[in-house]
Symmetry: C2
Subunit: 294 residues, 2 copies
C-alpha cells in the first residue's frame, strides 16, 4: 500500500510518515519545505497548486493530509494565508483524491468544537470555531465530508488533540517553556495556568493515521485525543522540576481556545485506537529529544 | 456615508447597491465582472487579490460584502474555486476592513444550518453545512465574527433566505421554470416538490443590508428570511398557472439542502427588519421582469 503524506516536512507529518514506513507502507512525502534526508520518496510541491497536488496523488492508495498552516499564531496573523492553504489546499487534495479514487485521512482538530455545550465533548457536539486556525481546519474537514457524501469519496477526519513530541516547532508552548527554563529565564504562563489540555503524543496520533488509513470507515469525523488533562501550570511545573527557574503569570491571550474535556471513545470503538503514551513518559521523551543549547 | 458593495455586478449586489443609493449613501461597486452602465462609482477587481481589495475599501465607511461564488452548482463543481473566492476573498475583505476601521456587513446564508435539530431555526441553532457553497459561506462568516471578537472589527453577518427577484441568474430554479414554461417545455421538479423554501425578495434583503450598515450591532449573525414557506411544487404551479405547460417529477438532487423553517425574529428585534414583499406579489414582479424570448 502506498500513502502520500502531505506536510511531511512538518512536526506531525514526519511522525506520521515514519509510522507508515514502519508499518510496511510505501511512503511519498509532499511538502513546500525541504524534505532532503527523508527515508522515503519526496515531492516538493504546493498544496494550493491543483496540478502539483494531482501529480503527487497519482499512484497512491491513501492521502494522509496533514499539510496546513498548523501554526496557530501564524494563522491568526495571516488569516487569508490560512484560508488559502487550509481550505483551498484541502479542497485541492479532496478533488484530486476523488478523481483518482484515493482515500483521504485528514488532520482536523479538537479545536473545531469551540465553547463546550456539554462535556466530555463527543463527535455529535456542535462545532463553533472562533479563530482563523480552527475555522479553516473545520472548513477543510467539511469539504472532505461533503465529497464523501456527494461523490462517494472514501475519507475520514481525525480531530486531533493538541499534539506534542519530538520535533515540535520552536514557538510551541512546550519548546518556549523548555528553552527558557534551560536558559534560566522566567517562564510566563498566560492566565492562571489552570486551563487544561489533553496533550496527545505524536506517536499516538501517527498510529491513528495508520489505523484510519487501513479502515474502510468513511464520511465521519473522529476524536483522537489522549484522556489525561494537563494544565499549563502543571506543564510549567514539570519542566521547572527538571530545570529550575521562576514561573510568572501573565494576561490570558485573546483567542485562546477555552479548555474542554473531549472523549475519544468512538475512536476506540470504530478504529481500535486508544492513546498509549502517558503524559509523564511523553514529556520525559520530549525533553530528552530537544538538544540543550550552547 | 460611503459603502463599498462587492459583487455589485451580480443579482443581489445590484439590488443592494441601488438600495444604498436610494437611501442617500455614496456607493462604490466592486466586481470582477463588467460594471459599465452602473449608476455608481465602480472598481473592477478581484476579491482574491488582497491589494485590490485594500484599494477599493479605502475611503469607505462600510463594506457590504456580497461578492462570492454564489452559484451553488458552480461551487459544487469547483469547490477549490468556491474556497478561493468565498473564504480567501472574504478573509481579504475582513483583513482590509479591519486595517481601515471599516464596518462589514456580510452576505451569509440560512443554508449554514444544515439538517434541522429543532424548528423554527434561530441563530443559536448549530451549524452543519454540507456542500461547498454553504461550507465556504460559513467559513467566511466565521472569519468575520472571529475578527470582531479578536480585533474589535465592527461587523455583522446576515444569514439570508433563498433570494429571488429581478435579475436572477438564468440557472436559478425560478428562471428555469419560467423560461421552460414560456417555451412550452416540460418543467421538471426534483423530488416530489414538497420541499419548502422561505424565498426572500431581493428588495427585502437589500433593505436589511442598509439597516445592518446603519446599526452598530457587531459580532453577530442574524437570520434575514421571509416568513412564508413556498414549496417547489407551488412555485411550479404558480408559473404554470400563467404559462401552462406540463410538470414532471424527477429524482431528488444529491446535495440539495433539506427544508427547514427559519425564524427572523431576532432581525425584527435588533434591526427592526421584517420582510415586506409577500410571495404572490414578488413572483408577479419577477415574472414581469423577465422579458419573453424571441
Amino acid at each position: 500500500m502506498r500513502v502520500l503524506v502531505t506536510g511531511a516536512a512538518g512536526f506531525l507529518g514526519k511522525h506520521v510518515a515514519r509510522r507508515f514506513l514502519a508499518e510496511g507502507w510505501e511512503v511519498r512525502g509532499f511538502d513546500l519545505d525541504d524534505l532532503s534526508g527523508s527515508e522515503f520518496e519526496t515531492v516538493k510541491g504546493d498544496l494550493t497548486d491543483q496540478a502539483s497536488v494531482e501529480a503527487a496523488i497519482r499512484g497512491t492508495d491513501t492521502v494522509a493530509h496533514i499539510g496546513a498552516i498548523g501554526d496557530v499564531y501564524l494563522a491568526g496573523e495571516r488569516p487569508s494565508l490560512a484560508a488559502q492553504v487550509n481550505v483551498v489546499g484541502t479542497s485541492n487534495v479532496v478533488q484530486a483524491a476523488n478523481a483518482a479514487g484515493v482515500r483521504v485521512v485528514y488532520a482536523s482538530t479538537w479545536e473545531v468544537y469551540g465553547e463546550p455545550e456539554y462535556e466530555p465533548i463527543d463527535e455529535a457536539h456542535p462545532t463553533q470555531p472562533d479563530h482563523p486556525y480552527n475555522i479553516t481546519k473545520l472548513a477543510g474537514e467539511s469539504m472532505l465530508l461533503s465529497a464523501c457524501r456527494l461523490h462517494g469519496l472514501s475519507g475520514i477526519a481525525l480531530r486531533l488533540g493538541t499534539a506534542y513530541g519530538s520535533g515540535l516547532r520552536p514557538n510551541s508552548v512546550f519548546r518556549i517553556f523548555l528553552d527558557r527554563a534551560r536558559a534560566g529565564d522566567k517562564i510566563t504562563v498566560q492566565g492562571d495556568g489552570s486551563q487544561g489540555r489533553q496533550f496527545t503524543h505524536a506517536s499516538d496520533i501517527a498510529r491513528a493515521f495508520v489505523l484510519a488509513a487501513s479502515s474502510d470507515l468513511s464520511g465521519r469525523a473522529i476524536n483522537i485525543v489522549a484522556p489525561e488533562t494537563v494544565s499549563i501550570k502543571e506543564l510549567a511545573d514539570l519542566i521547572v522540576s527538571r530545570h529550575p527557574t521562576e514561573v510568572e503569570f501573565g494576561e490570558p491571550r485573546a483567542g485562546d481556545v477555552p479548555p474542554a474535556t473531549v472523549t475519544a471513545a468512538l475512536a476506540g470503538e470504530l478504529l481500535g485506537w486508544t492513546a498509549d503514551v502517558p503524559f509523564d513518559r511523553g514529556i520525559e521523551e520530549f525533553i530528552s529529544s530537544v538538544p540543550s543549547r550552547g
